[in-house]
């Protein structure tokens, strides 16, 4: 149903927004030597009680009327576990939620990362009030992006301005292309 890891990531980031997060951190690490791929998201949203967290694994559970919502996490978990990996979530009410998916980088069924730049661009431009921090690590280097830096520079110029979109799109895709080694 989701053919790219960057779409699973988008879904997770969306959950963070739905939880009222003001800051969302995404960390992706390609470990070529160890043949692992790690994806970590941490937010400062409203968090979940252990009871609520348990229900997140249930594909038929949703707090909303949107039928698709409850499926996002179980799908991502399935992908990670199917690719010789693991998936875990920690959450504390009032503090936020942490999610970590880890899988074998070279697994034949591992979905491609896909358009990660597109995911980040869509999130940053459409939710300017939320601070997005991205760190992508690989053998080729580190790429660090903090939407707050962009926000501070822009001042009252909106993120969804034509020139800003153009700049961010190129900036994100060029810099990610430089560090992304695995497809």
């Amino acid at each position: 149903m989701m053919e790219e890891l960057s779409l699973h990531i988008m879904d997770v980031l969306q959950n963070s927004l739905a939880a009222g997060a003001r800051k969302v951190e995404l960390e992706i690490e390609e470990d070529m030597d160890g043949d692992r791929l790690r994806i970590k998201v941490r937010d400062n949203g409203k968090g979940m009680t252990p009871e609520e967290l348990k229900r997140v694994w249930d594909p038929f559970y949703t707090t909303k009327r949107d039928i698709g919502v409850g499926l996002g996490i179980p799908m991502f978990k399935w992908v990670a576990e199917h690719c010789d990996g693991s998936f875990r979530m920690e959450s504390h009410p009032g503090e936020g939620t942490m999610l970590e998916a880890e899988m074998r980088l070279g697994h034949i069924d591992r979905p491609p990362m896909g358009d990660l730049a597109g995911t980040v661009l869509a999130m940053v431009v459409s939710s300017p009030q939320v601070r997005f921090v991205l760190r992508y690590k690989s053998r080729k280097g580190d790429f660090f992006f903090d939407s707050q830096e962009v926000r501070e520079i822009l001042g009252d110029v909106p993120l969804s301005n034509a020139e800003v979109i153009k700049f961010l799109k190129e900036y994100l895709s060029e810099n990610l292309a430089k560090v992304m080694e695995a497809a």
Partner: protein, 126 residues
């Protein structure tokens, strides 16, 4: 670090140039496009639709359009959806969108001011 400095400089330049011609003042905009980005939207292409809106805004060099997202919105059968709202509060909901349809909506609705009837959905969203 050298790259980062260059980046900041580039963005500052964009900011200065944009402010000169900017028509958005203190949150004022001519159109606001809202795209539901729940799981059910994402699986049927909401991200690609949002990217198409952003591309079209860039292509038409629009400075007074805001693109925003919302988590959940009703029936999944009409997703991807975009709600186009003008500064007078008129709201049009478009459904079953594709990137091409999104571009057409920007060209016709936002640039020329004509509602694209063929893509309008009347299904109540809440």
């Amino acid at each position: 670090m050298a790259e980062k400095i260059k980046t900041l400089d580039q963005l500052r330049k964009i900011r200065e140039e944009t402010r000169k011609k900017m028509s958005i003042r203190e949150g004022k905009y001519r159109f606001k496009v809202t795209i539901p980005m729940g799981t059910s939207g994402i699986v049927v292409g909401a991200r690609e639709v949002m990217k198409a809106f952003l591309d079209a805004i860039e292509e038409h060099n629009l400075t007074d359009v805001i693109v925003t997202q919302t988590g959940f919105m009703g029936s999944r059968s009409i997703q991807p959806v975009a709600i186009v709202e003008d500064d007078k509060g008129n709201k049009i909901t478009y459904g079953n969108l594709t990137p091409d349809k999104a571009k057409e909506i920007v060209e016709r609705h936002i640039v020329k001011g004509e509602v694209v009837q063929g893509y309008v959905v009347l299904t109540p969203l809440e």
